[in-house]
């Protein structure tokens, strides 16, 4: 009798485990299939979008009337961004696919800039048409390669999950068809890159990596140590680590770091001239004792001690016990937005917690500021009449084409919103309009 009860229990146990295991297995499969499906969708979308992109560029080439051109270019721009989004959803991060992504980005950039241009006044130049022809050919190659990969994927039922596994384990990469296919695409694009460099459209650097504002002699490690000690206000034998940046850095720097109790300091000093690019001090900040305003005065003193030329505070924000301040350089009263410096002040004792002068040293140079060609009145008339202008300045900003332009800056209100509007001082074009939003309702009350 006892034996039978035992056997029954065991049988129930075994069957139960089996059922549970099967269910788990099914659940896992469902999840895997779902992940696989979303990869597949992204991949097939990508091929479709590149195909369409190729067609559209062809259309532009065949078009005669400028009227239809802008919408078509806008379509191309949209397609490139869709294709880029598709690439972002594929598990390709560990696979060198960035040349293709840059290619997509460049087509997008080109089509955007030409689409927003008034093509009636400034039609496509011969050079640009040549460029388009080249892009047409190249997008054709990419499309063909991708379609080939797509065909194999469909025919052989290849799964992206395997790609992910292969990439993660870094072996058997050699025999994965999808990976090989994407490598081929990448290689063909890399080929275009060299071809295109001369034409100056592909490979437009969005970010300028040259540091124009650095001057002075190269400093030694010992000098870097002295400068860092002065910045952190530490004396004598306090241990301070100095390391040099690697070969890949845009600008060679000495990195200084130290630790003292629960206080950590870090600074990047440029090798040329020993200028502080980044300074950070991390420590527990006590109850705020000074106001944001006093903090701003302190920040100003620090900037003076670093011998930055004229500057103006353009924004200040209090984040609990810290004040963060944005400054821009000024020249003859004109605000130079590209030359920006950020400061962070502890509101318990007014000490500096950080400074970021990277933008300043990247962009600062002696500028010839021309007299504005239009008067302030004329500039004001270019602003939407609904906007109530409250404040105005002269400012130099970087526009969408990454050129520095002299503008009238107007701060105005429309309803409850505040806008910053830049009007080109040469021809009165509206260069930039931004809504200033610096606060948000607190979602959680427990700070």
């Amino acid at each position: 009798m006892k034996r039978w009860i035992l056997i029954t229990l065991l049988v129930i146990g075994v069957v139960g485990t089996g059922v549970w295991g099967y269910k788990e297995h099914q659940d896992k499969n469902a999840v895997l299939i779902q992940a696989e499906n979303s990869y597949q969708r992204a991949f097939h979308d990508l091929t479709y979008h590149t195909d369409l992109l190729h067609d559209k560029i062809g259309n532009v080439l065949a078009m005669n009337t400028q009227k239809r051109l802008s919408p078509e270019l806008a379509q191309i721009w949209r397609l490139t961004s869709e294709a880029q989004a598709d690439v972002g959803q594929l598990p390709l991060t560990l696979l060198p696919f960035n040349k293709t992504e840059e290619f997509l980005h460049d087509i997008g950039d080109f089509s955007y800039k030409t689409a927003i241009r008034d093509l009636n006044k400034k039609p496509l130049s011969d050079k640009e048409v040549k460029m388009l022809e080249k892009l047409y050919k190249q997008s054709g190659t990419i499309k063909d390669e991708l379609r080939k990969v797509q065909h194999t994927v469909l025919e052989e039922n290849l799964r992206w999950m395997d790609v992910q596994l292969a990439l993660a384990t870094n072996d058997s990469q050699g025999d994965n068809t999808i990976i090989d296919g994407f490598k081929t695409v990448e290689k063909s694009v890399a080929g275009f890159g060299e071809e295109n460099n001369s034409s100056n459209i592909i490979g437009i650097a969005d970010e300028n990596h040259e540091f124009k504002g650095l001057d002075g002699e190269k400093i030694t490690e010992q000098q870097a140590r002295e400068i860092a000690k002065e910045i952190f206000n530490i004396k004598g034998d306090q241990k301070l680590n100095i390391t040099k940046s690697g070969k890949g850095a845009d600008v060679q720097t000495y990195m200084a770091s130290y630790q003292q109790g629960d206080k950590n300091g870090y600074a990047d000093l440029s090798e040329v001239g020993g200028h502080p690019l980044t300074v950070m001090v991390e420590r527990p900040v006590q109850e705020a004792k000074i106001s944001l305003h006093e903090g701003a005065l302190k920040a100003n003193e620090y900037l003076k001690s670093f011998e930055f030329p004229d500057h103006e505070l353009i924004q200040s924000s209090q984040y609990e016990k810290e004040g963060v301040y944005s400054f821009v350089a000024t020249q003859n009263g004109v605000r130079i937005y590209p030359d920006a410096i950020q400061m962070k002040i502890a509101l318990d004792n007014g000490d500096m917690l950080g400074m970021s002068a990277k933008d300043y040293f990247m962009n600062h140079q002696k500028r010839e500021i021309k007299e504005p060609a239009i008067s302030e009145e004329e500039a004001r008339s270019s602003v939407n009449p609904e906007v109530k202008i409250q404040e105005q300045h002269m400012a130099i900003i970087e526009n969408d084409l990454a050129e520095e332009v002299l503008t009238y800056e107007f701060l105005g209100t429309l309803g409850n919103n505040t806008y910053r509007i830049f009007i080109n001082a040469e021809d009165g074009t509206e260069e930039k309009v931004e809504r200033l939003k610096a606060t948000e309702i607190k979602f959680s009350r427990a700070v």
Binding site: G88, L92, L94, N170, G246, T278, M280, L292, K344, A446
Partner: protein
């Protein structure tokens, strides 16, 4: 005789002064602390400033305790109307003028804020009419939170332009999952890499897109991103969002001890912070 007269005058003036004092009891005992209030400030002084400006009809926004643009323009208009120097700063003389011209019922204002009510504070309108009656829909938890919240009673916070607290939270999650054992600067650098990727042409253009890109971050793949981030990670993200980039514009980083991909070693290396190597 002359002396007598002067004594008489003194006595008279003392009497008069006393009379004035008793006839007009001094304004609110507690008004504004000594600080000069500047745009971007948060806290009780700002609540008082907004309430007083609203009392006079200059400020029409919510009384939320954050000195934003709305408060700034209200203050400037106040300074203009009262013939003062227009600098957008609430210094001693400005505050004095405000205190003289308005009444501030701190208890009432704070009570409304604590209860999370929608209210305004215009002068000349009975206070009771300025509180929006709302059905008691608040969840238990929310109320508990509100009772627990002490310190400054501002109902809004400063956020860097273009970011929401939620973006910052998401980034803090990623930074905490990826680099919680790293020095503070290393955490700021990881957050900066996320932002550099958003701006890069070869990566998705949103914070969420970058973070959830398949195989981009190990913390996302293994679920560590859903750990609760600590304050340090949040502050590191705030620093990165406010413009600090100790990574030197890196768009990759890896831990040389655990990196599985050989390709990552081929990237030009910028620097090493803590255990991570940052690369282009």
């Amino acid at each position: 005789m002359i002396i007598k007269r002067s004594i008489f005058y003194t006595a008279l003036s003392v009497l008069l002064a006393g009379g004035i004092v008793t006839a007009f009891p001094t304004e609110p005992v507690k008004a504004f602390s000594n600080q000069v209030i500047q745009q971007g400030a948060v806290g009780d002084d700002v609540i008082e400033l907004q309430a007083r400006l609203q009392y006079l009809g200059f400020y029409n926004g919510n009384i939320d305790g954050v000195f934003g643009w709305g408060t700034y323009w209200a203050l400037r208009n106040f300074q203009y109307e009262f013939g003062m120097e227009i600098d957008g700063l609430a210094g001693q003389s400005t505050k004095q003028k405000l205190v003289n011209a308005t009444q501030y019922d701190e208890g009432f204002v704070k009570e409304q804020i604590r209860q999370g009510r929608d209210f305004s504070y215009y002068g000349g309108v009975p206070k009771e009419q300025q509180v929006k009656k709302q059905p008691q829909k608040q969840s238990q938890k929310q109320q508990e939170n509100q009772q627990k919240a002490e310190g400054p009673s501002n109902t809004a916070v400063n956020v860097p332009n273009g970011f929401s607290q939620n973006d910052i939270q998401l980034m803090a999650n990623a930074v905490y999952g990826e680099a919680r054992g790293e020095p503070y600067v290393g955490q700021v650098a990881v957050a900066a890499v996320i932002l550099n990727r958003v701006n890069s042409s070869t990566f998705p253009n949103t914070v969420a897109g970058v973070i959830f890109e398949p195989r981009a971050f190990t913390a996302v793949a293994d679920g560590q991103i859903w750990l609760t981030p600590n304050e340090t990670a949040k502050r590191a993200v705030m620093d990165a969002v406010n413009g600090w980039d100790p990574s030197g514009e890196a768009i990759y980083y890896f831990n040389p001890d655990t990196a599985t991909s050989g390709w990552i070693w081929s990237r030009p290396q910028i620097k090493k912070i803590g255990k991570h190597i940052f690369a282009k």
